[in-house]
């Protein structure tokens, strides 16, 4: 039985390359947090049904995704680092930037909470306590949107964490998942987006300790890559996708995505924040 099901699966697969589900498709460079949350699996089929355009998602950190856009290797970018996105537009690589949705970051740490930050809503204060205790803190260190947000929060706290580099401040230079795995192993604090945290399975002693500070807002924006710079870019299809995700149908699809009954992303294309 086992052998037959494997053979039946492999035989046709061995004969032909998978034809792309659609002849028309765009490549969307996005972040690991959105992909791993399962959001795309929920909203993209609806878009493809409506438009006949397939979307291939390459999940990267925001900094890397913007670089992929600069090289013209994606047609659209869905990322979460407003300052970097505005720089991308200003440099003429694409745009305009449209905001799509938000969720929030949360501060995670070991249940033992050696810095004693549980219960506070002031994220800057929480970070000050972590650094004062020199408690291990894992940083993405990969120019991702989450990394950028973390650095902004340290600035708000008036602390230069880089001085703790190699000691309590540990930059892993990897995605959210690997950073969470590292923090779990080292009983360290770290900043995570809520979606990845909710989907993360290897928590061990990690717990959500701080949430709800307005400064923990995680805003996603979408950008078209400039077809003037890179003639290979599928500008029309990319614009179709951007129009869809920022309009009623796409926004409703985002709002409708839930994990264990919990809404992960909140559409806000309409508001002008």
């Amino acid at each position: 039985m086992v052998r037959r099901s494997l053979l039946l699966g492999l035989l046709p697969a061995g004969l032909a390359w998978p034809a792309a589900a659609q002849d028309r498709f765009i490549t969307l460079a996005s972040t690991t947090s959105t992909e791993q949350s399962g959001l795309f699996g929920h909203i993209l089929p609806a878009f493809t049904r409506a438009s006949g355009i397939g979307v291939r998602v390459v999940a990267l950190g925001t900094g890397q995704a913007l670089d992929v856009g600069r090289r013209g290797d994606a047609d659209a970018l869905l990322v979460h680092d407003k300052a970097a996105e505005e720089r991308f537009v200003a440099e003429g690589y694409g745009g305009p930037r449209r905001q799509v949705m938000y969720n929030d970051f949360v501060l995670i740490g070991p249940a033992s909470d050696p810095a004693g930050i549980a219960g506070t809503r002031d994220v800057a204060e929480a970070l000050r306590r972590v650094s004062a205790r020199r408690a291990p803190f894992v940083s993405r260190g990969d120019r991702s949107g989450t990394h950028a947000a973390e650095l902004r929060l340290w600035q708000e706290a008036g602390i230069d964490p880089v001085r703790g580099r190699g000691q309590w401040y540990r930059e892993v230079g990897q995605g959210m998942g690997p950073a969470l795995n590292t923090a779990a192993a080292q009983e360290a604090y770290l900043l995570s987006d809520r979606g990845t945290w909710l989907a993360f399975r290897n928590r061990q002693a990690l717990k959500l300790l701080v949430e709800g500070d307005a400064r923990l807002l995680n805003q996603y924006g979408i950008l078209a890559v400039s077809a003037q710079r890179h003639p290979g870019v599928k500008a029309r299809e990319a614009q179709t996708f951007i129009d869809w995700i920022t309009a009623a149908a796409g926004q409703a699809a985002i709002a409708g995505y839930r994990v264990n009954g919990e809404q992960l992303f909140f559409p806000n294309a309409g508001s002008s924040k």
Binding site: G9, A13, G14, A20, M176
Partner: protein, 234 residues
């Protein structure tokens, strides 16, 4: 210990249920690695044979370079292919970046030096034995290359399996040039990397176990074919 146990159970469940998503990923992994192996064999084996028989200035440099390239970090191979296939790169108009084709190229780049270097070693020993006889028959180095490739076929099978193993176990290059796009360029190894980063270590390990069983199966099959052929052809 608990994780290892549940990984094992999950692996069995994946295979038992013939999980469609996993079978598609497995199929893609095998096709990509076999295609890369085919390309690398067409280039690497004759190159190895030629290096075994030919004596020319700079040969040692080529041999040492190939041996060094065997240790080429996959990410570097991937980066090289990425920059070539990027729309900003020289081959951007092929439109191959983030496709299975790009992964085939990256793996082929990675294992061609391995096939060339290993086959050179194997065939040099054979050439040592054959050289006088072939020259006595009037065969020059060019004619000796196909002869060595054919007569060394059983030893070369092991070389091919080494290349296949390296290709199918590779993750750094294919994730870079393939993009790990679900349903399109997700292979066993990139899926393992993804599940690991999601913290689903048992599932990641289960996928790893399935991959190992498949690679083991390919090796066993090749070994059986080799033994049968060896018995018939000597």
């Amino acid at each position: 210990m608990q994780d290892l146990g549940s990984a094992f159970m999950a692996a069995i469940a994946l295979v038992r249920d013939g999980d469609a998503g996993m079978l598609a990923i497995l199929g893609l992994s095998l096709r990509v690695s076999l295609a890369a192996l085919g390309i690398a064999a067409v280039v690497g084996l004759p190159l190895g044979a030629l290096l075994a028989v030919a004596r020319f200035p700079g040969r040692r440099v080529v041999v040492v370079s190939l041996n060094a390239l065997m240790g080429l970090p996959p990410v570097v191979a991937g980066l090289l292919v990425y920059l070539l296939l990027s729309r900003s790169g020289p081959l951007g108009h092929w439109g191959l970046l983030f496709t299975p084709g790009a992964m085939v190229i990256a793996q082929a780049v990675l294992i061609t030096p391995i096939l060339a270097a290993l086959s050179r070693g194997v065939l040099e020993a054979l050439w040592e034995e054959y050289a006088e006889a072939l020259r006595s028959f009037g065969a020059g180095p060019w004619r000796a290359v196909p002869t060595l490739l054919w007569d060394g076929r059983f030893a070369l099978l092991t070389v091919l399996l080494a290349g296949f193993g390296r290709a199918s176990a590779e993750v750094g290059a294919v994730i870079l040039v393939g993009g790990n796009i679900e349903g399109f360029t997700r292979t066993m190894t990139t899926a393992i990397a993804l599940e690991t980063s999601k913290g689903d270590l048992p599932l990641a390990l289960a996928l790893g176990l399935v991959l190992m069983v498949i690679v083991l199966g390919v090796n066993a099959l090749a070994q059986v074919l080799r033994d049968v052929a060896l018995r018939r052809a000597g």
